[in-house]
Symmetry: C2
Subunit: 236 residues, 2 copies
DNA sequence: CGGGAATGATTGATAACACTATTGGTGGTG
DNA sequence: CACCACCAATAGTGTTATCAATCATTCCCG
């Protein structure tokens, strides 16, 4: 789960990436390869490979005579898992969490509907079991295991959607749920209403009722976003 | 809008990327650097830079002694714009279009709600004008300009959501809408109901009514997915 | 027959150099 | 004075050669 394996250009990336992602270098800022060589004490080749990766993520553009320029945020590949991790690790963590949470809120109802429509029957049934476990551990106040169950619950639904892009968001959802608890944005004890809704989603998916599943899931995510209300990220 | 500028490793990528994305190389297939050097007639450095980019997209993993192995699809960064383009260009185009369309169907209602909540008032008002133009050109049967308007309509809403990740999907939506017409998945003439719904979405967003906007947008996307019904991509 | 060390294939990393594109200045010209 | 063509400095781009680190395989020894 740690980044890719310990190679030199990855270590350069691990410093340069987060720095750029955090906005430490203004939009037009220009690096030079030789500058990077010196700053990190690496060979030109390594510096170039790091830049290539940053370029493929849209963070920078590299042109002769001009150097390596930081591109405007609008051009970044905001869905790149690496970039998401960098931003979650940096000072923009809170903003990134909010973005991800909104994305998740927008996506999960639709995913639940798809899961109800076309997930394999046995796996759909499993969801109900998961929801029951959530209710139990939630009432017992075991927050840690509750969070784990919550994560797998939402992951499963995304995977059951049968859509590669939606299931590609499961890591994102995990980050959000984990990050939320670590930031104490969760109530001490899961709200009974939330528990009930999770069960409702599970049952609707099991019973193959897309509309019901979608509505119940929407209720879950709107409840969450209500809890975070009032904290809209500055436009920038 | 062509890929990045004409550099050698990009030309290698432009061949290798689509090939892997199209599944021409099985999951565990192993390349070697010297093999790539010869196949493309490039130096080791260039070959490695191409591999670095593929690696950062999760398409391959490069390890000593083992070579460069193709990773399972599950690990690919399916949101990487470059990868999306490659798949749209290749034989998986239809599958990719379906995935994207489902994603869009899942996302847009939520995006419309956010746009209604917090988009700048003047830009929200612009949407109504856009919807009117759509109605006019739609009724007139000018399909080309209608598609352009449709694209900007949906793009605007994503951008108005004020969420960087949602607006990051605007290119995706564009691809879907354009691809759909080029595949004749659109009716000869936009359906009156669809036109009415677009206007409803625009008005709701202008008037700051998230729930109404969300419902109307959901009606739009479900109508579309009903039209594509029955063609679910084969698993894997 | 099993476990661990030798082996060699393959990537990882460095260095030095030639090529090329871009840009910004410079000078000439209308 | 404005504008255009040209030139040169500058950085990335691409090549080659060489060595180091790694790890799947293999083979030998207990």
């Amino acid at each position: 789960m740690g980044t890719t394996h310990r190679t030199l250009h990855n270590r350069v990336l691990a410093v340069l990436g987060p720095a750029i992602a955090a906005g430490e270098y203004a939009c037009g800022h220009a690096f030079t390869l030789s500058g990077l060589e010196q700053e990190f004490g690496v060979s030109r080749t390594v510096a170039r490979e790091a830049v290539r990766v940053l370029e493929s993520m849209g963070l920078v553009v590299s042109r002769p005579r001009t150097g390596i320029r930081v591109r405007p945020q609008r051009d970044w590949s905001v869905f790149d898992p690496q970039l998401i991790r960098w931003r979650l690790a940096g000072s923009a963590r809170m903003d990134q969490l909010r973005s991800l949470n909104e994305l998740r809120a927008a996506v999960e109802p639709g995913a639940a509907a798809l899961a109800a429509e076309r997930g394999p029957a046995d796996e759909r049934a499993q969801l109900v079991v998961l929801a029951e476990q959530m209710t139990l551990t939630g009432r017992a106040g075991k927050l840690d295991t509750f969070m784990d169950l919550d994560v797998t619950f939402h992951r499963r639904i995304l995977e059951l959607s049968g859509n590669e892009m939606l299931s590609g968001l499961s890591d994102v959802v995990t980050e959000v749920l984990v990050g939320r608890t670590s930031y104490d944005l969760m109530p001490r004890q899961p709200r009974p209403e939330a528990l009930r809704l999770h069960t409702a989603v599970a049952q609707a998916i099991r019973d193959g009722l897309p509309d019901v599943a979608e509505a119940a899931m929407r209720a879950i995510v709107t409840e969450v976003s209500d809890a975070l209300k009032g904290t809209h990220p500055s436009q920038r």
